[in-house]
Symmetry: C2
Subunit: 534 residues, 2 copies
């Protein structure tokens, strides 16, 4: 009746020394707990997302040395763990009594499940993996395998440079019928034990049920906390406009680093309404953060004066972007440096998709924590935090109710109900079709012509008719955002901050070339049919 331990450990990618120390401690603990086997995740020694570090010969050699040390510590216990092999290929190892073992030679057969190529005599199976968290994946699922299966994953955050992924562990024990009988708390380190021959007698349990907003909040909170810890930063500066994105970011960071370490900065120009200035102040009061008001109008005027002074003429559109850059690159970056912290990028996925943000302006920051969320998910998160995390309207209802607006010109006057050119209840879904499903205007226009668009992109019925009176206006809108997505959107994403992923389709994981906009011939033909011309 062997007892088996499985370690849902936090793996620090690129630091085999740190991971190995932890593994050695966990082996000791597992043995002390009476385990005959201890199972670690894939990539437990090097981590998975280490980039070109895996081409460093000296790094591979250190990992191999660490592997030897782990094997040497395997007296009276079988240790499964992930590491590089001598060729620098990610592999899974088994050691016992100081020796590396082929797992089939062990006294009770175990078998790595990874290839789904298992033999009938195995007593139990191991599934070891390193798959980042995605809020819409089905957790704790296992097909029946005719024998118990122990699934073990790492926690922590790992990154590919442009994308920060969270790992929730998702370690669990399944009985021979593929039913869940034990699981480790997600996003937490733990060493769990299970009696092999008891597994099929254990009561079946249900995996935790969470709402979408709950899952997203948990992943964001964990990801931000771990990432800040890894880069050694404890103070966070958030530019707050009185809009929803910056308010949600502020509320999130307060939960992670505490109100006393969050600096909220409101930077009004003459276009900012008393309404949003008041909402920003209210937000800061509710969250209990330090709050600075640093106006930008003088600096913007001075910049325009300097440019006009050398003979340039500065259009209103250029002035809008001057404001955005003045806020982030002049004020927020300097405030962050002065307090010894970082400043945040509060962009959401809809804005990122169409590049509705200014480079070196609101597109700047150390991390985009919300850029894998569509606008409706940002609102959901606001309501969730108010209800479940803060227990009161920490994010003022006025911020949730106000029309989304950049407030960079009189055309974006919130008090007159004017704001962003995006109608999020429709565009969130149109843009998701582009960004997450590889759909193009060809399919969209086909579905529009067939009257099935809302159904196919999952948005509310009636919106297409509401927003677009004619095929002309529908097509103009479609082409506007497709051009933005494939044109300036790409150029801006190349220089944007890392994104905290909550799906398996964040920007940064996409491969994007700056090749300009293309409309397929089939699209152009269909368009000509619908509205004439070419």
């Amino acid at each position: 009746m062997p007892k088996i331990a499985y370690a849902q450990m936090k793996v620090l990618a690129g630091h085999p020394d740190v991971n190995t120390r932890k593994i050695l401690n966990l082996i000791y603990e597992a043995r002390a707990g009476g385990a005959k086997v201890v199972i670690f995740p894939s990539g437990a020694v090097p981590g998975k997302m280490i980039g070109d570090t895996e081409s460093q010969r000296s790094f591979i050699c250190e990992c191999l040395d660490c592997g030897d040390e782990i094997a040497a510590a395997s007296k009276d216990i079988v240790v499964f763990f992930g590491n590089f092999d001598a060729n620098g290929i990610s592999s899974y190892f088994c050691a016992r009594n100081g020796e590396f073992f082929d797992e089939n030679k062990l006294p009770w057969a175990v078998k790595c499940y990874i290839d789904y190529d298992f033999e009938s005599e195995a007593d139990f199976l191991i599934e070891h993996f390193s798959i980042p968290f995605s809020f819409d994946s089905k957790p704790y699922y296992c097909a029946p395998t005719n024998r118990p299966l122990i699934s073990v994953g790492a926690v922590g955050v790992q990154n590919t440079g442009k994308t920060i992924y969270t790992f929730n562990g998702e370690s669990a024990v399944f009985n021979s019928r593929g039913e869940l009988v034990q699981y480790a708390e997600p996003f937490a380190e733990c060493l769990n034990f299970v009696e092999l021959f008891e597994i099929d007698k254990m009561p079946v349990i249900n995996p935790p049920v969470e709402t979408e907003a709950e899952k997203i909040y948990r992943a964001l909170h964990y990801g931000v906390k771990e990432f800040l810890e890894q880069i050694g930063v404890g103070k966070v500066v958030v530019g707050v406009s009185g809009g929803i994105d910056s308010a949600v970011a502020a509320a999130l960071y307060v939960q992670v680093v505490g109100a006393k370490n969050v600096y909220l900065v409101n930077m009004p120009s003459r276009f900012n309404s008393a309404t949003t200035k008041g909402l920003s102040e209210q937000l800061a009061k509710n969250l209990g953060c330090k709050y600075f008001v640093v106006p930008i109008q003088e600096s913007v005027d001075w910049t325009v004066k300097q440019l006009e002074g050398v003979g340039l003429s500065v259009s209103d559109f250029v002035k809008e972007n001057i404001q955005a850059r003045d806020r982030s690159a002049r004020i927020l970056a300097a405030v962050a440096a002065s307090v010894g912290g970082v400043f945040t990028c509060n962009a959401n996925k809809a804005e990122s998709t169409v590049g509705y943000a200014t480079l070196y302006g609101d597109e700047a920051g150390f991390l985009s924590a919300l850029a894998d969320l569509w606008k409706y998910q940002v609102y959901d998160l606001a309501r969730y935090m108010n209800e479940k995390i803060y227990g009161f309207e920490a994010i003022p209802q006025g911020i949730i109710d106000i029309v989304p607006s950049a407030e960079l010109s009189t055309a974006q006057n919130v008090d007159e109900g004017k704001g962003d050119p995006l109608r999020y209840d429709y565009h969130d879904y149109l843009l998701r079709a582009f960004a997450e499903r590889n759909l193009t205007p060809e399919e969209i226009l086909l579905w529009y012509a067939a009257g099935v668009l809302e159904d196919r992109i999952d948005c509310k019925a009636g919106l297409v008719e509401k927003y677009f009176l004619t095929a002309q206006t529908f097509i103009a809108d479609l082409e506007r955002w497709w051009k933005a997505f494939t044109g300036m959107g790409v150029a801006k994403r190349i220089q944007s901050p890392p994104i905290l992923a909550v799906t398996d389709k964040p920007y940064g994981a996409r491969h994007e070339s700056q090749n300009g906009t293309h409309f397929t011939r089939a699209y152009r033909e269909l368009k000509a049919e619908l509205i004439g011309g070419k």
Copy 2:
């Protein structure tokens, strides 16, 4: 005696319609020129670097339609071309008289060389490829193949988002002994003809011989020109400091878009010397560009005053970065927007490696044209352009002679010979070992201890002794730059502009995770041996 045409065409990635129109015209031209065969490069229809566009079903379908159109145009001529297959896999096709053909069924045997798996009965071989230009690769080389070989590549620029690659074509004809008998001018579109049965009788010729600076200049000029054309930009703003990088960038862009489309902007603070201000002005005069002086001192003082006004204290280091951001994000971005153009990032590869630049400051821009060049190559390029392109000291000798400096504080006073913390004659080579050879402090310290470091990293003998009197100072320097390379350097590169590649190891092509600095155990042990401690 079949005549064969090969098309070194410019491929526009992601635009199959444009490429197909060109291919159809070239087929017509080839037929009119009496060719029985016409050969196009790999990926001629879709382009190679299209990112996730290859996951768009509508795009693949359009490419297949284009392929059918090309096949339909193959009356009385055999057409070889690259395209996607029905599964979206990059493939190479052959068509004749409106039908797709297996090439082995053709009246005179031809064979794709790509797998080096050819049979003896073939009359000639085709090599079709899409490899970006790298200045240090060996051009026009071919192993003997016992039959003539026609090699065809595309020209143009293609990009992966973060990296812009040039394609020089490198199309050529080799005889049965692998000797060069004809080649297409690099970086130029052309349709060349050759008589198959004459190839082995043609005189052997030598490939063009160029210096490193010549090759680099040609690739940069072509890459910048083509990229600007692709993104539809004709006006360029360069911040000029009086230093070498911005001067070389200015001289390069003037050659590409003409002096009247280049705006040079000098942005002095109180730390900028009369020397560098004078050199900037001289540069503008020599190049014949518009020249603006836009001081930043008032704005920097105002920013500091605003921050102090809300109770923050602003250190001298923070003030340095405020200056850098004020120049790029406040002035250059606004000037570029006002003239309807873009502004450049002038960083070199040594600075990029260690992040010796300010995010949203001198790290910003639409393109880093020099960021695949080490500092010594920037100097070489300056001398080359003065001698061969301008024919006079367009880049003033004073700019070449002055000590490299950011001039952000009195500690960087050029008139006192003070400047950058990098000793480029040594650090260029140390950093190249990190960035291009995957070496780490472990190997560097081993070689230092063995007295062979300069030889192993190819820098001038005597420099290590000159710069480092003790092992302590050597190690402190080594660790400083390794930390910079693996720490802030990575964070900055994630948000840096696209880089124009001239090697096969540009940043952007590397995979980098923001995992912090790691020193291997072997390194730490060797260090302890050399200087004690741990």
